[in-house]
Symmetry: C2
């Protein structure tokens, strides 16, 4: 049994009010993979990089992540994204998006990945998400799809096709409103459920996350932070932590889903503490356990009457 993540590996150049970076390692697969690796020990990646990615793959291998599904294109250049965050850290401008080898990404599934029980289809062209899923010989126990407004604008039919095949969708609140054409998130959740996913997670950044399923709803807080250093990858770290927890407990029900949302939120809260994947690279199990206790303290109340 394994947890497989399909998603981009990238170089990112990031400007925030706290500083800026040259090209550092990024991409959904890095953030999700690192986050998942702290909760589950058989994590495998499917991605593509250019020859320039070089030794950076060791960031993943040091966390015992299987990278045999990461294709290296000889002479190719790795996907590059550059962005600048505004003072509120909630909005950003994209300065550059050079798809490079990602433009022709054709996901290949090593035979050793066919034991996949937990699949994360990270934010990518819906067509590639469909191809990756079709190439698995048996349907995973749980499929999580992450996507964004860009694909709702440019590839809505493919997105609707993959939505029919997944169990969990993670998007943010404005994307939920766009996809459903409903302002109320309760109504949005009901409409999105009709599109396929049994579980919907609406990510609200500093306002936490909502989990909807079959008339039930759970509200997870976000940890109030003194400093958000770099929001890049927080949503991917959330998805990795979420699915890593579920793979570990290996039982799908609403109660475990709620806990998984808390673990995802915890991993996202670490991610934003440093630039890029730096914080996730150095995380310890003790720090994670402590952060989970912070989430318990943050949200627990006891009304006795």
């Amino acid at each position: 049994m394994s947890l497989v993540i399909v998603g981009p590996l990238a170089f990112d150049a990031i400007k925030t009010p706290f500083g800026e970076t040259d090209k550092i390692v990024g991409g959904a697969a890095v953030f999700a993979g690192l986050a998942a690796s702290f909760l589950y020990d058989n994590v495998k990646l499917i991605s593509v990089v250019g020859e320039d990615f070089g030794d950076n793959i060791e960031i993943l291998q040091r966390r015992h992540i299987d990278t045999s599904g990461v294709e290296v294109i000889a002479g190719g250049k790795t996907f590059f994204w550059s962005g600048k965050y505004h003072n509120d850290m909630n909005s950003r401008d994209t300065l550059a998006t050079d798809l490079n080898v990602l433009a022709d990404f054709d996901p290949k599934i090593p035979d050793s990945y066919q034991d996949c029980d937990y699949l994360l289809l990270g934010n990518l062209t819906p067509r590639i998400q469909i191809d990756a899923l079709d190439r698995l010989q048996s349907k995973p126990k749980l499929i999580v799809l992450d996507t964004m407004n860009y694909w709702m604008n440019s590839a809505l039919e493919d997105l609707k096709a993959i939505l029919k095949k997944v169990d969990v969708l993670t998007i943010n609140d404005s994307e939920a409103r766009q996809l459903s054409q409903e302002y109320s998130l309760v109504k949005a959740a009901a409409k999105i459920a009709e599109m396929g996913p049994k579980y919907l997670i609406i990510k609200k950044g500093e306002h936490g996350a909502l989990l909807f399923s079959e008339g039930q709803v759970f509200s997870a807080p976000a940890l109030p932070l003194a400093d958000v250093f770099d929001p890049t990858g927080a949503g991917d770290a959330f998805a990795g932590g979420f699915l890593g927890y579920l793979a570990r407990v290996n039982t799908i029900n609403f109660s475990n889903m709620k806990n998984a949302v808390i673990y995802g939120s915890a991993m996202a809260s670490f991610c934003v503490e440093k630039f890029g994947s730096q914080r996730l690279e150095t995380l310890t199990q003790e720090e994670i356990a402590g952060r989970i206790q912070q989430f318990v303290a943050l949200s627990r109340f006891e009304i006795s009457e």
Copy 2:
């Protein structure tokens, strides 16, 4: 022992995407008073109305609220506010603000109100809040102040003076940022604590509320609602429910404060279900108990490892 609320009584005319009202009863004192009356049975109001308010005072008296501190100005006209909510229900345009008798509001404290242990200084000119507090012969056990950005812009020195004298401040997130000049709510809370209030409640509407005190933080969810019919008064209903709960349990600590935030959130969630104070007028204890259980289900998770 009593719970005293100082705040405006008003006529409101409201337009929302769901409809519009002629002049209906409104004002912070109505919403806060009604909400508090379901949780504590000795609620007293200090306010001012014009002769045109007439029998509307019975809305409060039917809930056994003491209105002997509501001054009626012969020949005067009651404060009138009119607003139009946008489709997102989070932003609104003010169409009219006719202060009328509120312009010369000089709060008078009946002798029978001098048993006040719990005081809510509803959203008003800070100068009037100071006067009301000064006219109480003994300091209440707990003083809650509600205010808004308008007073930060127009009466900051008076606001800072009253902040030094109160225990709890309730404001929204953008107001917390404005008052503290800090974007991070954690840093904002630390700065505002230095201004006086031991407890800070940051109201975030559909995103819930945060309670800060002495390095502790609690995040209360908002109940996801299919329809928000009219947001007017939600913040006042929150404050009334919050203080009503604390008066009932009559012990001030962080644990009770957390519960009080949940009760306040529950009363706010009822308030928005109909126009004006209609929903609060017809509420039952059974409905409140059921709503509290919804908040428990919404936020409870059990991580055993």
